[in-house]
Amino acid sequence: MPAAVVVTIAVDDVTDSLRWPIAEWRERPFRRFQLAATARSETSDQAKSTAIALIHVTNRDRLGFSHGLGPAKASFVSTGHGLSDLTVDICGLIGRPSEQKEIGWAMEQLDAEVVETVAGVARLLRRAAELAWAQADAIGPRSSHQLLALGIDSAADEALGLLPRRARLDGPTPVGDNPAELLASAEQLMRRICVLGAPSRLLGLRALVEQLVWEANTSAGI
């Protein structure tokens, strides 16, 4: 039950766990946090699921929580406050909102697999944008393909914005010379990581890519 669940936030360089409502979290002047959830339930699995669900629900928009660190990757820790039998540590270290200028802060808690997938999406989108611009330029100065190409550019930028600065984008050029097919591949990749509880920016990117797939298919051959 949500009422029985206490959400705690631990500051990684402070030994004591601090118990604040999530709403206050943003106001605290600490640089890095560890977010934890405590749940009481009949069984440990239920407690874990409840805590994770609560944190996902309350934070996914604000913090960009990822399913990538969901139950399968959760580990048990103690709050030391005796409030419950079990506490679930569900995320790694995340930056404060004030550090949002650093692109990709919201995704820093993602595991390497998710980051690599988003990087793959970014590569596909960049290549699709190159091809779409080449098509637009070949058609001529009044080509409506410019709209599609600019949309793909924006999606590629959005994907890059989700990645940490240090993420490497170097890699093989995606195979294929049809922007619609590359977009479809990007959309397939997005499906793998956009599951319940994924960050809203990730879901937004998926929606944008889906829209572009539709546009690419309807404008093909114009």
Binding site: R142, Q146, L147, D153, S154, S219
Partner: protein, 482 residues
């Protein structure tokens, strides 16, 4: 110690307007460089006064007309600070005095409030009119300056004066470029004055113009493009700016053609305008491709620029397309006010004159621009060879990258020849934009358009100007005309 200034807000504004007229009437070639140098001070004072007042009516967030003008003023100041024409030197007394008057008016408003002063709409109108007239005065002075330089160059060449004593072609070109920038500024100021309801004393004569999504998106885009290029531009930012400008140009062509097909504008005029718009679109696209070659996997577009570009794309898609294709003229006529949309898009082309100049300044001067060594090696060498063929000796035998840089494809600063290629492409953009703007002046953009002029016709007599510039409160004349 100067006497205490007892003028009211109304008197300060009236004095500013009178000074602006005086500046126009007395505009001389000699005053042009100083007027350009003082320009940003005036625009900044006007913008501060503007923001001290309440928000102007009928303007959506992101389309503040003064902000559009302010970024142009700042861009001109940056250009001058970077050493471009007219370079450092004295300021103009008249323009400085107007700026001080506007600053004084802002101080009075901040100290005492605005309840007892003139109505806000009146103040906005007066401030904009003052800027408009002063901008026009500067353009007139610049035109006379260019004419004089051209005349001197011709005479000096005929008399075989030493080359060092003659005016340079570069100075003439740069002054002409400045005329185009002030021309764009004037048109934007005039568009605001003409798009606003008349001041409170003349209510109801004009319907308030509501800002459309496209207008708001384009205005926000212009402001953001200036800001992104003024900050720490990446090659990716310049690619995005050029691509969006190309799209705006294409949209302008489509919508203007629809207006011609429906019969809202002259078809012959569109036939003359269409090739200029196409040339402009091609020039922006070429520039985008060249900047695109210089991006690396580490290049990131400014996130705010991405947002502004996305909004332009969405607004254009909603305005002018059907399922990713351009809408037909009939569909456009049913969906939007074609005449207003044509005006909006052409004003955006006018504003792009300044964006193109900023892009050129960035290519010429910005120290932070880098690109992968391999592409720099190729591009710089190709441009250097072209320059050598044209008689440039400085590039002979120069290598632009080291072997180690090539092997690692290291990011290195843009060398001069690579910049030279970008500048040449941007000059094409500027030339084609000016051509499109000049052709479009025959469109009826609220009867207040001006041609980007440079020549003897700019030297007008005092009596002509006195007749043609009207006060903003004069309901009979509606707006300044030429």
């Amino acid at each position: 110690m100067p006497a205490y200034d007892r003028r009211t807000i109304g008197e300060l504004l009236a004095d500013s307007d009178a000074l602006a007229r005086e500046t126009l009437l007395d505009a001389t070639p000699e005053s042009a460089p100083a007027m350009v140098r003082s320009w940003n001070q005036l625009v900044a004072s006007a913008a501060h006064l503007w923001s001290a007042l309440s928000s102007p009516p009928d303007h959506m967030s992101g389309s503040d007309p003064m902000e559009r003008l302010r970024v142009i003023g700042e861009a001109i100041a940056r250009s001058v600070r970077a050493g471009h024409w007219p370079g450092h030197g004295p300021a103009d007394d008249h323009v400085t005095e107007i700026a001080e008057n506007l600053s004084r008016a802002r101080q009075l408003i901040e100290r005492h409030g605005h309840s007892s002063g003139p109505a806000t709409a009146d103040v906005h109108g007066q401030v904009m009119h003052t800027l408009y007239v002063t901008g026009h005065a500067t353009a007139v002075a610049l035109g006379a300056y260019v004419t004089e330089l051209q005349h001197r160059l011709e005479v000096d060449t005929r008399r075989r004066q030493p080359i060092v004593e003659r005016p340079t072609a570069l100075e003439i070109t740069e002054a002409q470029g400045m005329i185009a920038r002030f021309g764009g500024f004037e048109q934007l100021a005039a568009a605001y004055m003409f798009g606003q309801p008349l001041p409170s004393r003349d209510p109801g004569l004009r319907a308030a113009a509501t800002t459309t999504r496209l207008q708001a998106a384009l205005a926000a885009w212009e402001i953001q493009a200036h800001r992104s290029l003024a900050a720490r531009p990446d090659s990716a930012d310049l690619v995005r700016v050029a691509r969006v400008q190309a799209l705006i140009t294409s949209t302008t062509s489509i919508v203007t053609e629809a207006a011609a097909t429906i019969g809202q504008i002259d078809r012959d005029l569109f036939r003359r305008l269409a090739p200029t718009l196409e040339a402009n679109q091609v020039a922006w696209s070429r520039l985008a491709k060249r900047w695109g070659e210089l991006t690396s996997s580490a290049s990131r577009t400014d996130s705010l620029l991405v947002v502004a570009a996305s909004e332009v794309r969405a607004a254009i898609a909603a305005t002018a397309t059907n399922q990713s294709r351009w809408a037909t003229p009939e569909q456009l006529a049913n969906r939007i006010n074609l005449a207003n949309t044509v005006k909006t898009l052409h004003l955006s082309i006018v504003a792009s004159v300044d964006i193109a100049h900023v892009a050129r300044d960035t290519a010429a001067d910005h120290p932070g621009l880098t690109a992968p060594a391999r592409i720099i090696g190729m591009r710089a060498q190709a441009e250097a060879e072209i320059a050598v063929e044209q008689g440039e000796t400085r590039y002979e035998g120069v290598t632009w990258t080291t072997r180690r840089q090539i092997v690692a494809n290291q990011l290195i600063p843009l060398p001069e020849p690579a910049r030279r290629g970008l500048i040449n492409l941007t000059n094409d953009v500027i030339a084609t934009t000016n051509q499109a703007v000049a052709t479009a002046t025959q469109l009826d953009l609220s009867n207040i358009t001006r041609t980007i002029r440079s020549g003897p016709e700019l030297r007008r007599g005092r009596s002509v100007e006195a007749r043609q510039i009207a006060r903003p409160h004069d309901p009979g004349s509606r707006a300044p005309r030429r």
